[in-house]
Symmetry: C2
């Protein structure tokens, strides 16, 4: 499927209510549990999505529009949420994420992007040349990657509880696939 800005915005808009429905008031045993050392809990993942809203997607879109390939993106800190989420409640994080996402979609709309803007090029510090439409498609798929991850982390907590049904439950055979 080709990238379509309106469709991608339609996906990006969904993620805050989906997350709220999925993890609000989740018992701590589910919310704070991971898949083992150096893996993330649903709480960690919401924090990571917030960092992306602040430092990744729209800042990078602006770098493409203002500097093109001349200025590589700042590297993204995959662990910033450890410090930033400390002492916050899940409710605060969900509110922060919803507010930042809304502000970013308002800002994206205000850019009034035209079809010819979509192929403008930027420079990723590791991946090299990328285009604006690839950045925006990645923003949407990044949400889906973490929804995929949260459902897997939650399922993992019942890995033993399902007994022989483990054979049929695909989510319990997913190894995460993270780079």
């Amino acid at each position: 499927m080709n990238f379509d800005l309106a469709d991608a915005i339609g996906l990006l808009r969904r993620t805050p209510p989906v997350l709220r429905a999925l993890v609000s008031d989740l018992p701590d045993a589910w919310l704070r549990s991971t898949e083992g050392s150096d893996t993330w809990s649903p709480f960690d993942i919401v924090g990571h999505l917030i960092v992306g809203e602040r430092t990744d997607w729209m800042p990078r879109a602006r770098i493409i529009l203002e500097h093109g390939e001349a200025r590589p993106f700042d590297p993204f800190d995959r662990f910033a949420q450890v410090k930033e989420s400390q002492g916050k409640s899940l409710g605060q994080l969900l509110d922060d994420f919803a507010r930042l996402r809304k502000e970013n979609l308002v800002a994206l709309h205000a850019l009034n992007l035209q079809p010819e803007d979509m192929v403008r090029r930027g420079k990723h510090p590791e991946l090299g040349v990328v285009t604006l439409d690839q950045l925006l498609a990645t923003w949407a798929v990044h949400d889906l990657t973490h929804l995929h991850q949260i459902s897997r982390v939650m399922a993992h907590q019942y890995r033993d509880a399902v007994g022989p049904w483990i054979a049929y439950l695909g989510v319990l055979h997913c190894n995460g696939h993270s780079a």
Copy 2:
């Protein structure tokens, strides 16, 4: 984590609103697209969850409580939704699923299950002996398996659109893991 009935119900209750937030009013290009031949779209998956509410989880719980291992479960039809969903809108399917899930959770509560009931045994036609708590844990993880699948199927539609970022997006490296 050990199985806990109240926690499992807490998860089961979430799935209808999560699905509604995730797929309501999704453009058809996302809603009806699959990962290739013989794979399911988000629309198909909602239909499959409805069939489970009607024929799988609570009927099997009742077979365990009434017949134990003496009567194996009826086999589950993994393709019933193809016929049953035909001609229905996504809105109808989401409403049906929410209603059936609610009815089933009311019926589950009415069983007034005690800790000693949780280890009662039944017979799965392929997996052999299973316990009631394993069935109920599987009900919850089955929801998560299909949430995991929907996020993967949706992401798949932007597999090419994300360009070089495919390297970092775990959901695009998931092969489904289905039995």
